[in-house]
Symmetry: C2
Subunit: 248 residues, 2 copies
């Protein structure tokens, strides 16, 4: 049993399976977790930074700000998610990272990618896979924002959050605490906060969801998924192309 742990190792182990040796490599590299309060900006775009993070606890989102001052939320990140990869290969951060809840994140050292690519090809390939899965998720979101009605876009965000939380926490079935403001949902869907409010109310009136306090409950998940044109891709990862694990 290892004294230290690694968020990244846990994540990769679940998705792909790790050997003890691979796990040891990651444990050795990972730095101690860092805490942030709800609303805190972990990193701002255009900052010089090639750090990588793994979410250990809580939610955050990545976003970009336009010159008009409008904000586009690109993606929500949950425990186990690898964050900041896109900025890691550019000179400066492309995305702002903001904590939705109190969070705990593990920072990965600057040289992580170099080390993995040079010495641990199978681990590098896993990270590549996760990055490509994110790419596909972003494509789904673009299609949602570009082609769907306001109601469908809101439904799509809710469905995505529910499905992704459920993968992480088996005890979640049909409801979750949503720490987002309606304004933030608007920034993710390309709508105003006011209109998000109306769409949520419509979904409640139609019996698709229910709310109490800050909890959202799915009453008719089939209809929600249909409304949102939602595709769950969480089970589609193809691991057959990965290089074989090293022989001890």
């Amino acid at each position: 049993m290892t004294a230290r742990e690694s968020c990244l190792a846990d994540r990769l182990d679940i998705a792909f399976g790790l050997t003890a040796k691979e796990r040891a490599v990651l444990v050795a590299l990972e730095q101690s977790p860092r805490q942030c309060r709800r609303g805190h900006v972990v990193r701002r775009e255009r900052e010089r930074s090639d750090d990588l993070y793994i979410v250990r606890n809580g939610w955050l989102f990545s976003s970009v700000i336009l010159v008009s001052g409008k904000r586009q939320i690109l993606r929500f990140h949950f425990p186990g998610d690898l964050v900041g990869l896109g900025s890691g290969v550019l000179g400066e951060a492309a995305e702002t990272l903001t904590a939705v809840t109190d969070i705990e994140m593990c920072t990965l050292p600057r040289g992580l990618l170099r080390t993995l690519f040079a010495e641990h090809p199978r681990l590098a390939a896993m990270i590549f896979s996760l990055a490509q899965a994110d790419h596909v998720a972003m494509a789904d979101r673009l299609a949602s924002v570009g082609q769907m009605s306001a109601k469908a876009r809101v439904a799509s965000v809710l469905a995505d959050i529910l499905v992704r939380l459920r993968v992480l926490d088996k005890s979640i079935t049909d409801s979750f605490h949503i720490g987002l403001t309606q304004e933030e949902i608007g920034d993710a869907t390309g709508l105003t906060g006011v209109h998000v409010n109306r769409m949520i109310r419509t979904l409640v009136e139609e019996g698709v969801i229910a709310r109490s306090n800050s909890h959202v409950r799915m009453l008719d998940e089939a209809r929600l998924v249909q409304l949102a044109n939602y595709v769950d891709r969480s089970k589609e990862l193809d691991t057959s192309w990965l290089p074989p694990p090293p022989r001890d």
Copy 2:
């Protein structure tokens, strides 16, 4: 001088610089180019396929179709672009690839990624970098579709195409042949073809662009870029983290 060539080697050489040995590896792997006619669907989403392609000549675009029948164009791909990576790590293709012009593409073998990760870490890292650059580009597009006006979105697509073509072909300064229909521009921007037409006409009336036949000319590129809130990221690739090239 090599008898055979490799589109991928050319691309990586321009972006990162290749050793002769690295080039030889890629030349050995690359298959002979394949031709497609304008409008031809190279690959359809949900098809079982983990092929990778490099564009040698012409344009294509990747897109997804929603159940409503609407289509979201995700990205245009120009010569040298690596296409299909996102689908390569999933069991099935996530995106449809459609030729905008007559095109010539090089197919890369199924095992390419595995070979590169296992045996040529620096090449794998380069491909990872390109993939992440695409990720950032997709984020920019999402912000455009989610937050900007119709005119700005159209301007943004035109600016993106111009800038990217100019990197590939130094002879291009302010005009290019646009093989896209206004409907296709609409599918990329989340607008209807009719409204794209109106926005293009507005841009012409304002003296920002001019058209003749299927050619678009930028009359006031500064204003176009400003309208589009366009950020040229083509020079932002950070190559310092790449593993060192192998010693011969």
